[in-house]
Amino acid sequence: MTPVKEQFEIPSKMKTWSMVLIAIGVISFILGLITKGVSNNAEDKAVFLGTLMYNTIFWMLICNASMFFICATTLAMGGWSTVIRRVPEAISTLVPVFGTITLLILIYVVVIDHNILVYPWLDKATVEKDEILKGKSGFLNPGFFLVWTILAIGLWSLLGYRMRKLSSETDEGPMDYDTGKQFTWRNTVTASLFIVWFALTVASTVPWFWMMSLDPHWYSTMYSWYTFASSFVSGMSLISLWVIYLKNKGYLEYANEEHLHDIGKFMFAFSIFWTYLWFSQYMLIWYGNIPEETVYFKHRVEGAYKGIFFMNIIINFVCPLLILMKRAVKRNYTLMTFMAVLIIFGHWIDFYQMVMGSIRKDDATLTWFDFGIASLFIGLMIHFTGRALAKKPLTPKYHPFLKESIIHHT
């Protein structure tokens, strides 16, 4: 038996792959910039910006979901995830990176380009004439939008950094009873701050600002939770992919199918939760049948987005429901990998129709540009997560909950 490796070393194959993906992404970004980004056709430009927007928002939110997972398990005193804790920690180091990209793109859209095809509420003349937009203008204005976005991304990064720094203490040396208690308490404080801020941003305002305001007349109280569920279930899938990868490479000695089973339960449960929100949002609007509410669904259910809209339900609800239901599947590395990839793809498509469905209503074709930009973000994600994993030991050796996690049994 080969000795267990404690310290992650980035394999050269992974380096090559992430570089190739980033290169593909950069090339398609440049090509997109030339063909769409600087074109005189306003619609092409909106499509270019929209593609960048839904990709950065999606990838940033699923990386942020990792930090949410850590904080939620910390608050719930959930010890089982301790042995795999370094994986979501490493993924969450991407929040500042992707956050900066998101911020730059949003600043470009709102301030520099002032793109009214993306955000119609940016146009002062329209807002003046429109009673509904006038009523919302206290909230939907560039100043509030940007300040809130900067605050959101900044505090996610800051509190995430604090959580990761606290976690480094568990590598230093054994803790006695009082130190351990104090450590748990400090973790709890930071985690609760993060959770509260998370509720004020991801679970409410940020999806309103970034995505719901693409259709400024339309509103839905389900929207933010829907976005959160989407990002959390893909975040759990991403964690499971990394855990399986590391396990296959001979790392994470204490993680076994018991821990994978619990991650699988999260993927299963939150797929159902996502569907619950999807359906609650859809059914009430379908039943009420009021024009100002159906405007969001009209072209998605009957128009160009019909295929993507219903494929979404099959990938994100029917497949997880039927495949992940069995206990044996959640403990099977191959099937879990397949389901994780499928769920991430499904929710990426979901974000695509949420954003592009409002910017470009008549055409739903996924082009090379969509996949190119996605590959840029996947490449960055692999590169930075690998680097973050290599910085620390993979097992928090002196964590107070480590034993609970090792003997974890579902």
């Binding site: 359906f279 859809y282 059914m283 039943y287 049994h409």
Partner: protein, 194 residues
Amino acid sequence: MAKKKFVVASFDDEKVLFPAVKKVRLSGYKIHDVYTPYPVHGLDHALGLRETSLHTAGFIYGISGTTIALGGMGWVFTTDWPLNIGGKPHFPLPAFIPITFETTVLLSAVGMVLTFCYLCQLAPFVKKHHFSLRATDDLFVMVIECTSKTNVDDLQSFLSNAGAVDVNVQEAEAGWWLGTYDKDQVLLKEQPAV
């Protein structure tokens, strides 16, 4: 119904119980059941019990619920008595989903409870034999079924050596109230009285 003979061993510690279960199984005795005050993690693995089929039953009940609700409402509103409700289509799927969901949950929940009672031989009119009342308080009670070949004295000393704090012999009806569960009567008739 026929009575069977059981050797009942009580343990006061999980750490003693697990090796004892292993030893008893290795020696070829048949463990009838282990009664514990609370669910003990890993005991089902130690006992070598097969995975329950309760969830498969639950899935089947759930699917039946879905089918009954969708089929029933679909038939009523399209074929039997079509009504025009607010100009909605006659088969408005979104409006049917909540009821379908409720029926699915109802059937699977009720069905699983009843199946669970059947599997555990529980019903209002069934009187269960308690091997040791302290199994609901502070003792882990292992019950071993005796066959014609079992040497009861040997078994008792074997269990005492394995760490049991109390060993005794009891006769009890192990069966099921309809008598379908306990067909093993031949063995008992051959067994000499002790």
